[in-house]
Amino acid sequence: MALRQLLTRNTAEPSSTRLVVTLGIAGLLSGLAIVGIYELTLSTIADNKARELREAVFKVLPGVSRFQKLVYAEGTLQPAASQASGEEFIYAGYDANGAFVGYAIAGEGPGYQDTISLLYGYKPAQRRIVGMEVLDNRETPGSGDKIQKDPEFRENFRALAVEPKIIVVKKGTKPKPNQVDAITGATVSSNSVVSILENTNRRWLNRLPPAGTEPPLAADKP
């Protein structure tokens, strides 16, 4: 009798407790493994992201050696904690002596294929864009993606006047300071970049404090 019970017990339906316990243990072990790898890689990933950001900011704001994040809250720009997200923010770049150089502003918008995201440097004193880097694009390889890869296109943004309006022109000689040479065969992508710049400017330029009154570099920034 006891033997038969023992034999049948193994082939009977496992109890709900057993199911739940198994899932629970699996979940627990999985959770431990995931938390473990997360902690292990956290600092490396954070460093990678910080480095990428720093490189991008340095590319669009030449002459900068430090920068900080500024958040737009209650009508003014204030320094923000580096982990702050969700609110609208830009970066302010400073040279080695802590003097203000310019802002680095991120923008994005629809391109020819998919969303283009970029970062550009802006000097309020001269009201000019001094650099632009496309961070992410899915434009046509070989033509549209030149907005990211073609150094000649990027040259357009070294001293680009933002007034009255940034205009795209066909590739010609000596365009006016507020004009950008389009990429041959990639007019739409070029236009999209300029649209993004215009829209982002419209959003941010009147939020910036008057030239000369930019927030100083907070003491604890690296």
Partner: protein, 192 residues
């Protein structure tokens, strides 16, 4: 507002989930044999996507800020539960459809398109409304691709095709031509 329209049109046409992002291909090639079934699976997919979009937003906003590493597992759990729920509802409302969809209904849970929707929405920082519009566009685009593919395959059945070519090889090439056609939608929303 225009941003919402861009999200919708992009997911529906310009960056179609199936034909441009290669998502949901297993069920795309599996179910597109018959037009009727394909359309209904597309609708089921869209419904699951809408629920997933809401759940992903809720998880991201309230739970995952404290534990970002649990993102993948929690998304999968939500998707699996939603599919289970949809399965029960369909079984009750339309047993014929349940039979027709067969194995492909529970397979919606492993449909990469649904998980990809959640991941994309997270990476792009979509809020609740944007997520819903995105899901509508993505699901709609998937359904559109399924329906077009099913129509083409039904026509192809009547054609004289060498036996080597029949099956997935031909379906892939048909999908390639469809994808090529959809590339024409690029530039639809550019602000030129």
């Amino acid at each position: 507002m225009s941003e919402l329209v861009w999200i919708f049109v992009s997911a529906l046409l310009v960056n179609n989930f199936v034909l441009s992002y290669f998502l949901g291909l297993c069920s795309f090639f599996g179910v597109s044999g018959k037009l009727e079934t394909a359309f209904r699976l597309g609708l089921a997919n869209t419904f699951v996507m809408l629920i997933t979009a809401v759940a992903a937003w809720a998880l991201n906003t309230f739970v995952l800020v404290h534990a970002p590493y649990l993102r993948l597992i929690s998304f999968i759990v939500v998707i699996a539960s939603t599919v289970q729920f949809v399965e029960m509802v369909i079984k009750k409302l339309s047993p014929a459809l349940f039979q027709a969809l067969g194995i492909y209904l529970p397979l919606i849970a492993t449909n990469c398109a649904i998980l990809a929707l959640a991941i994309f929405a997270t990476n792009r920082g979509y809020g609740l409304l944007e997520g819903l519009v995105f899901a509508l566009g993505a699901g709609g685009g998937g359904t559109l691709a399924l329906v077009l593919m099913a129509s083409l395959r039904e026509e192809a059945e009547l054609a004289d095709i060498p036996s080597l070519m029949k099956g997935t090889a031909l379906n892939l090439i048909i999908a390639g031509i469809l994808s090529l056609a959809f590339m024409g939608f690029a530039g639809l929303f550019s602000q030129a």
